[in-house]
């Protein structure tokens, strides 16, 4: 009984301490997306390559696809670009670029100089589609399932590690779900 008096507060303190300790290593700049599991916001935006042809999100339904938010003003986008090129080479899913609040001429130059990993690039000049997707920084990368629902969101430059650990398994299990 006397021991219990000592152990209970100590236990409570340990639990509190564990939570606070875990909190020390959480990144406050990472805001989880409320979109996961919900239908991907629809968009119809002019294409970067040919503004006469719109990029329409509903046309992508039926197979998984990736949305990558980028801009030439974004340093992290330059860092992840080689990774996107490598992912595009795998030809597992189409990568759709969302060119966020950018200069289209500069963006075209970027793709010419660094290579183009995108199946299509939608131009979001006003940042309206970015808001619909809850984008608050670039680069951000979303995975959308065949049913048009958002499966995953990665904030920060894409790496092969993230691609292999978070994206590929979800693409595989989505593919298995379909006969």
């Amino acid at each position: 009984m006397r021991m219990l008096k000592f152990i209970i507060p100590l236990g409570l303190f340990a639990v509190l301490g564990a939570f606070l300790f875990k909190g020390l290593y959480r990144d406050p700049s990472f805001v989880p997306s409320p979109l996961i599991g919900k239908p991907a916001p629809a968009f119809s935006l002019p294409s970067l390559q040919d503004p006469a042809f719109p990029v329409v999100s509903s046309e992508l339904r039926g197979k998984p696809w990736v949305l990558n938010v980028w801009g030439t003003w974004c340093g992290g986008c330059r860092a992840e670009h080689p990774v996107l090129l490598e992912i595009a080479q795998q030809k597992r899913v189409p990568i759709i670029g969302l060119n966020w609040r950018d200069d289209s001429v500069q963006a075209q130059g970027w793709l010419r100089d660094l290579g183009n990993p995108y199946s299509a690039v939608a131009v979001d000049q006003e940042g309206k589609t970015a808001i619909d997707w809850g984008v608050y920084g670039a680069p951000e990368t979303f995975l959308v399932g065949a049913d048009g629902k958002v499966l995953y969101k990665h904030i920060a430059p894409m790496t092969l590690d993230v691609w292999n650990k978070e994206f590929l398994p979800r693409i595989d299990s989505a593919a298995q779900g379909q006969p």
């Binding site: 406050p28 700049s29 805001v31 409320p34 979109l35 940042g127 808001i131 619909d132 608050y136």
Partner: protein
């Protein structure tokens, strides 16, 4: 002595100037023209002051000069002009950015425990204190009883 106070005064003036300059720059963030309707303008100011700019995190979208904050202010403006309610605008933001976008958090099933924690802790602490005090009082009673009993035996 006089020189020292003078210097102190000028430092104070400098600090004041620095503080004032930050104030004016904060006021100049939103360069959009005000609503013609003062009620709409008041609503606009209220809402933008309660929404977090997620790029800068510790600024409201009313205070931030970030591009995203500017875009979000434009969306709030558009929704007010379209006649949407404050609640609809807040829901629009939460649907896209989650509860973190609100500076005044809502009570939800997920954070209910956090909201209830002060009351629960007070209740738990109060119960422990009550039990402790009662027990102490009972022990004190027993002690005085035995004292009396002891003195009784001594007397005989």
């Amino acid at each position: 002595m006089i020189r020292a106070t003078l210097r102190g005064g000028s430092i104070l003036a400098l600090l004041l100037a620095a503080w004032l300059s930050t104030m004016t720059s904060a006021l100049a963030v939103d360069t959009q023209a005000a609503f013609a309707d003062p009620v709409q303008q008041a609503r606009y100011e209220n809402i933008t002051r309660e929404l977090r700019c997620l790029v800068c995190q510790n600024e409201t979208i009313a205070d931030s000069s970030a591009t995203l904050a500017r875009d979000l202010r434009r969306e709030v403006r558009r929704m007010i002009e379209e006649g949407q309610s404050d609640e609809q605008i807040r829901t629009f933001m939460i649907d896209r950015y989650g509860d973190f976008v609100l500076y005044r958090p809502r009570m939800t099933a997920r954070n209910f425990l956090l909201w209830a924690a002060p009351a629960l802790l007070l209740l738990a602490g109060g119960t422990v204190a009550l039990i402790y005090i009662r027990r102490r009082a009972a022990e004190a009673d027993v002690e005085t009883d035995t004292d009396r009993a002891d003195s009784g035996t001594n007397m005989s």
